[in-house]
Symmetry: C2
Subunit: 383 residues, 2 copies
């Protein structure tokens, strides 16, 4: 087990009906900016629940934060918050709204051009206090300090971390899943699954509890996914999924272990170039990473095969093949196509992505052995 | 899954050599009271490491906090802290020192008789800031807000919770285990194991991740225990044990599930009357609880048998019998005797304990079905 420092101050408020707690959770003297996305919260009743809970607070609103939240949009909100002296941000939405709100919270307190803090590590950790009402389980942003922001004019999608961006609290009401489009549920399951894999399927770290915990989330997802595909309105199934998504990326399974994140880095580039959903990019890229990094990941692939998929007999190579096939089948069982050609993405994009990483001079993966050349191999595997 | 609210702000600083971080972790202007126990930290070098790290801080010391920390002792420290205007407490020790320090931190800020806040829920959450350097993995006190305090003159051992008593940080250096008496390692393994069971082995809560996580800690303990019994100086084994102990009682596996705690409540009374080690009382009482509560716990006993001990064939009754026998064998494999008669405890104590709970009019267990009569049955099982 590696040395580590861990801290996660976010308060989780979990369960049906918990949105009503907002009245107590946000100090009465705050001027709240409520941020949200395309307006689905108007249809599913969450907007009304939030407004009702905050009827005695001063609340402004900023809607229209898009999937893969856009710098230009967010900067408009930053200007509005400054003008109105907003001192509390409440993100009501999924990962895009929450990530965008973290950017807004940081940019308000930032002197100079905000895009800068995505290009280099944040020197300070200032932010306007923020909290969330989660409507889509997927990114885990409701209980961590990170965010991913897009700037379409530059075809860039970059992430930043700011300790002051841990939400003060996050309300997780599993009934929010009832009315989600099935595609968002599928993407959320894939995103959660790959979040766990990025922290688990590296090399043995002799961190036993962390391994079991990662496997526990993966097995839960494999159990709830087929149920969710046929019925999105079973409370306990929704609760187990929503809980899994938060636990997958709040640092709990990351303590003292190596981390990969190559799939996310490559996937983000596909979104930057072609606008694909984040979850879809992961379902495409991850099988390619497993195939090309097979030797480096051998020990953990064998453990994954046995502990998660119950594959414990046969030759090692066969077990690994089966585990990778199970992973591909799992993604496809969610109705997601897992080849670049399904999305008309070809060699030109592969070359552009590789050249971007070459320019940045970064190698990816838990041992930084995924060079631009290997990125090409990975993407060729999933053409 | 039940609705829940969760928050745990403690920062974990984990690994060999991390005690040196103290210099940065405690603000330079604080007057620190360093609390500790019987002096083993003088022998194993931890005292010197702490003093060296804090050489530029103003540090006072209070040693001699005993196992099952005693009200009278702690009140002497409270007086000293008030006199010296102490504004930061650093507990260097195991659960007893940390629990005692939480009492001190709360009592300093408490108007009136401090024993009162053990007799009823704390109305406010004030405390002097505290942090810990953990030397014995066992109680989990390094990452929660609870504490158990004894008052021998009254034969009482009571617990309290204070949100302001979450340690600001806890340093966990697994090498602290190298020089522990084997008895303390055994007690710590049992304490950790039963902490998990109290939050896991109740009735099905449809909380899949939480179940897998509880099982992950149990399996880790079963793996490291025999290794620790023959060699206390393997770093990774010690790290996995120390990590397990903290994760067992920091709220991570408690979210949204029922909890038992009958064994702890009964065990505390045995300690109050006869001074037995906390871990020993758990090893005695827990098999009795499983036997008497067998029907109420049937579903989870079957799951425990399969997931933790690999018992998945045969009649249900046989599987449950085997799981209980495995639990008893596990405790005994640590060199602990698990019958009351081994400690010369007889019917009179059983009657006294039952009568105490009868007077308090409390029933124990996840469904409050363990009446004083059933406490007698439980203790008769383990005579």
């Amino acid at each position: 087990m590696n040395n580590f420092i861990f801290q996660n101050p976010t308060k989780l408020v979990f369960g049906e009906g918990q949105i009503a707690q907002l009245a107590k959770l946000i100090p009465a003297d705050k001027h709240v900016m409520m941020t949200y996305g395309g307006g689905s919260i108007h249809k599913n009743g969450i907007y009304d629940q939030v407004k009702k809970a905050l009827c005695n607070h001063q609340v402004s609103e900023f809607g229209g934060i898009e999937p893969n939240p856009e710098y230009e949009t967010l900067m408009r909100c930053v200007a509005e918050c400054k003008e109105k002296n907003i001192d509390f941000l409440l993100a009501v939405g999924g990962g895009s709204v929450i990530d965008g709100t973290k950017f807004i919270a940081t940019a308000i307190k930032w002197d100079g051009e905000p895009w800068d803090f995505l290009l280099r590590p944040l020197p300070t950790g200032q932010a306007v206090p923020l909290a969330t009402v989660l409507t889509i389980p997927a990114t885990g942003s409701e209980m961590n300090s990170g965010a991913v922001i897009s700037r379409r004019a530059r075809k860039e999608k970059l992430c930043f971390f700011n300790e002051a961006c841990f939400p003060q609290f996050s309300i997780l009401d599993p009934t929010a899943i009832y009315s989600l489009p099935q595609k968002q549920v599928a993407n959320g399951i894939i995103d959660t699954f790959v979040h766990v894999m990025e922290q688990y399927l590296t090399y043995p770290n002799n961190a036993r509890v962390q391994e079991y915990w990662a496997e526990g989330i993966l097995k839960t997802l494999i159990e709830v996914a087929p149920k969710l595909m046929v019925n999105q309105k079973d409370y306990d199934t929704c609760a187990n999924f929503m809980y899994s998504a938060t636990m997958a990326l709040n640092g709990f399974i990351a303590m003292g272990v190596a981390q990969d994140w190559a799939t996310h880095m490559i996937g983000q580039e596909i979104t930057a170039f072609h606008g694909l959903d984040h979850g879809v990019t992961l379902a495409i890229v991850y099988p390619g990473v497993l195939k090309i990094m097979r030797e480096e990941k051998r020990d953990m692939l064998l453990r994954y095969a046995e502990q998660v998929w119950g594959i414990n007999s046969g030759a090692e190579e066969d077990r690994i093949d089966q585990a990778i096939a199970c992973t591909e089948d799992f993604f496809q069982s969610l109705g997601v196509k897992i080849h670049l050609s399904d999305y008309n993405i070809g060699d030109d994009t592969i070359a552009e992505i590789a050249s971007r990483f070459a320019k940045k001079k970064v190698a990816l993966g838990e041992k930084q052995t995924i060079t631009p050349e290997r990125i090409v191999e990975i993407l060729n595997q999933v053409k």
